[in-house]
Symmetry: C2
Subunit: 370 residues, 2 copies
């Protein structure tokens, strides 16, 4: 890799699509004209051909290894993003069940999810953080879930508000736990056997936009009615190993490379979690040290390790912060249009050096403007 | 581009995902670490950021220019492939309409499409080629469509059978014409204003798997009910310029490059059609010259310019053909598992040299085995 080709890369704090590991991009660059042994780009390969089937199987196997996913679960590679899962989950598990689905509403994404679920059947809000502007997730005991619920749905990390569940919420054993893990997937080890469905669009932590990983307990796959639009029925995808129709082949290929980077270069999810906690700590320490200047959005015990959200004393200072940060190659720090402020998304692929540079900039900025 | 990087590329006759233009892949390779001016890979860019919005707008503008798409139409970039369109079209245009949708069933893809439509409302088969094993498309006059149909659906090119409509089927002016153009999109000029919906998954002629282009007349966008799963409602995507949720950014980027290649390098769709007709002619001429050995599947006046399908006298000879072809770098010639035989997919990006090499091999093979 020539120095010139990488020299002008910035530190990209985008919330998603987001930074990818540089070694992954370098491998993609090497292989993009000719995947080894294939005589063609991965983009050009039949999804049913031997070479691509091996790529997809390897991506799945690497995810299974990283997360310790047992044979009780299928791993699906789907299109349509988290938003299509907002509909597919209730279409398969709620519609016609006679049951009620329970939702923990902790930010923008779970709010969107419940709106789609309401089209499919009875839905109940087990907990909502709306009144406190979604600055926390509920402690166990602050809500209850009936034993006969269709499922309990939550979003493990709310990208926009920057609040994250430290561990799985309490849930009766009889109720499938369903998790939108889009923005903290693969950032830490998980006890997958606690979940009914664990899903994540790839473009935060796991790969490029266009593929969504759905880890689904096999007994739940059968619940979808044959009257569902075919693409929305998990059964179709599971029976065909995600090849019911042409899958997003290139996105799966990159996702597989990211999984290998985690397993082989980083050393697995426990090591990744340690690095992520350290990175987040660098920024939260500065926020805590300057309480009159940087105001964190999330309550301290609910802070996201992935999306660090905070406000400055004025809109003018926020604009100045973003503009001066960009001069230091610190990019995409503007908060989501629905919340405002500053958001530093520091997913797996954000190098520690980028976070250190931001931390240093934040210290300098407060000393000059505080 | 070094010679070694391209030296071992084969001629890839895959039906999809399929060959992409080499200049497009070379540009992707150059930009994959750093899109010019962005400091990051296109895969890493926020879909709402200035750089990617310009990429998406340019892709749309180039498609509009190539096909002459007027402002009466929206151009959407969606996920889920043609298969999700099989459901979205009737979900938006048929469900609750009190009307009947009419289908021309001319091969495997229109057969799949009608099955999904039957879940959404009343469907009628205006024409079926099933009894003749889908070896033709209907001549005008062989079917009729009521003036009050919800829409008339057809597939302009059946990839598996290798039959293609030479022009749009007759359709009353009051009835929206809906076309699955997945495997001949951008292969020739089209009169877009004849269509209600013209759609294509990208992975045959227009780009990598993972993005589907939907060209939809604006009055049809409003027909979807708010009770539809949000992703399935065209309105959501149209109002948000395909950014209702995160679109498949990298696939859109490559699709834009393919569109530029067509416009700038090839000289537009009329020039592309001329080249495609010449390529197909090279193969059909050999089939016609050896009627006892090569048996074309499609009737001569319905032959696809994209997928040349034919059988050899025995399974043994077919296996030998495929195996020896591979030794000449002629790859992925095996027919679809549901039809068998040989299929040479010669989309836009298949260079004439590849078709000439195949033609030469076919001549040689018949002389040795005929």
């Amino acid at each position: 890799m020539s120095a010139t080709a990488t020299a002008h890369r910035v530190f990209n704090f985008s919330a998603g699509p987001a930074a990818l590991p540089l070694p992954v991009l370098q491998q993609v660059q090497e292989e993009v004209l000719c995947y080894p042994g294939a005589g063609a780009s991965v983009m050009e390969l039949s999804h049913r051909g031997k070479v691509f089937v091996e790529i997809a199987e390897d991506a799945e196997a690497t995810l299974r290894r990283l997360l310790g996913i047992s044979d009780d679960y299928a791993v699906l590679f789907l299109q349509g993003g988290a938003v299509l899962q907002f509909s597919m989950i209730p279409a398969n598990l709620l519609r016609g069940s006679g049951k009620t689905a329970q939702y923990l509403v902790t930010g923008s994404w779970s709010t969107k999810a419940i709106k789609e679920a309401q089209k499919e059947g009875d839905v109940s809000i087990a907990y909502s953080g709306k009144e406190s502007n979604f600055n926390h997730v509920p402690p166990s005991g602050d809500y209850s879930v009936p034993d006969d619920a269709a499922y309990l749905y939550y979003c493990s990390n709310e990208t926009i508000q920057g609040v994250q569940f430290g561990s799985e919420p309490q849930c009766p054993a009889s109720v499938p736990l369903v998790c939108d893990s889009s923005s903290d997937f693969l950032s830490r080890p998980l006890a997958v056997d606690k979940y009914g469905i664990l899903y994540a669009c790839a473009q935060k932590n796991a790969g490029p936009a266009g593929v969504t990983v759905v880890v689904i307990r096999k007994d739940l796959i059968e619940r979808g009615s044959d009257s569902l639009p075919g693409y929305l029925n998990y059964k179709n995808h599971a029976e065909a190993n995600s090849m019911w129709n042409t899958p997003p082949t290139f996105a799966i290929y990159v996702l597989g490379k990211v999984a290998h980077w985690l397993a082989d270069d980083i050393g697995g999810l426990a090591a990744m979690e340690k690095a992520n906690r350290e990175k987040a700590g660098l920024l939260y320490d500065i926020i805590d040290a300057n309480p009159g200047f940087y105001t964190g959005h999330a309550k301290a015990d609910c802070r996201s390790q992935m999306n660090v959200t905070f406000n400055l004393p004025s809109d003018e200072l926020q604009a100045k912060f973003i503009s001066e940060a960009a001069e230091h190659d610190l990019d995409s720090l503007k908060g989501h249009r629905s919340v405002g402020g500053i958001r530093a998304s520091i997913y797996n692929a954000m190098p520690r050096e980028g976070v250190e540079t931001l931390a240093s900039f934040m210290k300098d900025f407060v000393s000059k403007n505080g």
